[in-house]
Symmetry: C2
Subunit: 186 residues, 2 copies
């Protein structure tokens, strides 16, 4: 396995140790995942009792003007104040994947406004999308978000909004994992 | 590794045995691959001294009307008369992958007419595209074609045409492997 400079592979590894404390693991649609205590994001694809693998990849739907607007407002990961995180693995249905590109795009943006309606929350929420579908993983995407505690409400509003839209009718499995940065006690 | 009903993973395995006799392995752009005598397409992802892994996936550019036209003219693989084959692994540049979807689509179809100009050859040439990029393989795609010897000229014309277009300026590595179905001599 060897990725170019524009891609990188990670494994979300659950277990007794790790940078993130897991606060809850809850099913939104379909089968949940086993509860874990802590989570580490490790480079490369490794095996583990609780592990989800993904790879960063090129954008699949955004057009040039959306990319420009997204790049302008998207914060970096690993901001010191962003002590809360969410890991939301999602699988879409075979019906979704059988649609041609123009129809998936129309549902994603023209009808569900995935990008446009995410923009207002983005200055406060850092996010990274990992692709898993071509890896034969149980989920198609692993979405990772980081935000400061005072922006939890913005984040919840964003998640609620996306879930209420037509695009989400094609989500057949979704698990919502919430985390906070682990702090060593003295 | 476990794929849904709409995807399947294969390994192109080169070696001393296999269903296909390899006639040539030639670089088109960039580094070539070692010569091999025979090739087998095996299900799943396996390791091998000469191996290329890919997975069938959803269509990335075609719209509804193109899908309908493609489906109408595309023959099945494994036709008994299709005794010639080509395996053409391709890697596109980081510059290609950094383009947003609308610009990749415009280069692919509106300017390079990848679909429209492939249609006339398709009733004679069966093809399947395997994706490798998210797997960390050395190529982004593995394209597989099967045709009868009397349609070799149609196939060469199609390959020449695609290579002459703007889309191909983004191809940074391409190897052209030609094969024929191995016949046991009595």
């Amino acid at each position: 396995m060897s990725y170019g400079s524009d891609q990188h592979a990670v494994t979300f590894l659950g277990g007794p140790s790790g940078t993130w404390s897991v606060e809850r693991v809850a099913s939104v649609v379909g089968e949940t995942l086993p509860p874990i205590e802590r989570l580490e994001i490790v480079p490369g694809h490794v095996a583990g009792a609780w592990s989800l693998r993904g790879v960063t990849s090129h954008a699949r739907y955004v057009d040039r003007s959306e990319k420009t607007r997204l790049d302008a407002v998207s914060p970096a990961l690993d901001r010191p104040e962003a002590t809360r995180a969410a890991l939301i693995p999602i699988r879409k249905s075979a019906r979704w994947w059988s649609l041609p590109q123009d129809e998936r795009r129309a549902i994603f943006e023209e009808r569900s406004r995935h990008i446009t309606d995410s923009l207002p929350a983005l200055p406060r929420v850092a996010r990274r999308l990992y692709h898993s579908r071509d890896l034969g993983e149980p989920f198609d995407f692993l979405t990772w978000f980081e935000y400061a505690p005072e922006h939890a409400e913005s984040f919840e509003a964003l998640v609620d909004l996306l879930r209420s839209r037509e695009e989400w009718a094609y989500v057949e499995r979704e698990v919502d994992i919430r985390l906070s940065r682990f702090r060593q006690t003295a």
